[in-house]
Amino acid sequence: MSRIYASHKQLVCPGQVLAIDLPGNTNCYREGREIIAAVKGQVRVQGKSLKLVPLAGPYIPKVGDVVIGVVIDLFNGRWLLDINSPYYCTMMGEEVSKNPLHEDLKSYFDIGDILSMRIAKVNEVNEPIGVKPWKLEGGCIINVNPRRVPRIVGKKKSMLNLLKEKTGSKIVVGQNGRIWVKGGRMEITIDAIKTIERFAPTSGLTDRIAKLLDAHLRGEK
């Protein structure tokens, strides 16, 4: 019989037993019948199942993620990018060229270029392949805790749309904690994003940010 010991929204430490006889969970480990927290995080109980939401940790790329990377090397018809992860991302020349080994790939993307990409594959040692590159020029990149990215995007992109609407900025959010902002009222956009990051676990955040943006736009801050 499954039993959940932790309560909804409870904060837990590694080593705390959360439940017995439940299926495994990414941020927990199983020992016998017990499900045990492996990281510091917040428990979310949904009916008979639970999830452990980690509060920190490295960004490990997942298939489908949009990430923002910096080209740090190119060789053998491919690029290598830093994606704010312990693992570099590879992008094959075939993404943009029909003959990558014989073309000068620098003409497409050179070292130092900032690209947004989608992760198409991740191998068994966590190494990702990126596809559908889009060069990000101008604007600026800010870093946030990758764990806060879902809050910055919001349910059904509600928070992100609020930001775009009010500030007029172009915003590309990378799951790897890098966010590109260009145009519009950039300092306001950046300030709002940093505020969301700081207060992510609290409730009523969307309203709070809407008020903050309005105050900025009225010139009060």
Binding site: L11, P14, G15, A38, V39, Q42, A56, G57, F199
Partner: protein
């Protein structure tokens, strides 16, 4: 003038030179998340010890040939600041620091889920800013909090504490004079949930029975330390609602 007289470390009522009873820990305070740059950090004041631990990682490991495709490698660097001890210590690792780094790395490598991050390195740095015996236990305790702070997956926290023998009595958590003039020092580190031993060293002289008593006492100390670790870690996770 002759050498300093060896003080009596424990009186007939079982009270030690700092007023503690045999099974009492020194005053301890812990804080998690104290450094801005490191991925995880913790600071502990334990008696007169002042110890800072920080974690970077997992991150790229260079040179590449040292990478392990099945798991992350954990490095532990223990360093004493020159001003941390009575006679200024020259900067740089000495043999004692290297050994402590090794046994602590082994302790943490047991508990961190290294297989999740192949080909990477997890760097743990412990700085002793002020030393007063038991620094490897304080360092390991702080390091485990720093790893948890960094969100690195682990089976459990690691709680460490030492026991020893002074004037023939088995006592918990030696301070400097007790370590210098006592008859034994036994540092222990465990995974609190299942009481698994991940670090065990001993120097001095104990009978089998004395060892058992010292081990049990150190274990009890570790469990008390674990409660404090949990409190400190949970406190660091709370978000204040102020703006």
């Amino acid at each position: 003038m002759s050498t300093k007289e060896i003080p009596k470390l424990i009186d007939d009522k079982g009270i030690r030179i700092d007023g503690r009873k045999k099974d009492e820990l020194r005053p301890i305070s812990m804080e998690v998340g104290v450094l801005a740059r490191a991925d995880g950090s913790a600071y502990i004041e334990w008696g007169d010890n002042k110890v800072l631990a920080a974690v970077y990682g997992p991150r790229q490991l260079h040179p590449k040939f040292m990478q392990d495709p099945t798991k992350a490698i954990l490095h532990f660097i223990y360093n004493m600041a020159p001003f941390s001890v009575d006679e200024r210590k020259r900067p740089g690792p000495d043999r004692r620091s290297v050994e402590i780094g090794k046994v602590c790395a082994e302790a943490l490598s047991n508990v961190v889920l290294l297989e999740k991050y192949p080909n990477t390195v997890i760097d743990v740095f412990v700085e002793i800013l002020q030393a007063d015996a038991g620094t490897r236990c304080v360092g390991l305790t702080a390091a485990s909090l720093a790893l948890a702070d960094a969100g690195i997956p682990m089976k459990d926290l690691v709680a460490a504490c030492a026991a020893g023998k002074i004037d023939g009595e088995i006592v918990l958590d030696l301070k400097k004079e007790e370590d210098n003039y006592g008859e034994c020092d036994l540092p222990l580190a465990i995974l609190p949930r299942k009481k698994e031993v991940v670090l065990l060293q001993m120097d001095g002289s104990l009978t089998k029975e004395e060892f058992q008593e010292a081990f049990d006492l150190a274990l009890k100390g570790c469990l008390e330390i674990y409660e404090k670790q949990k409190q400190a870690l949970l406190k660091s996770m709370e978000v204040s609602e102020d703006s």
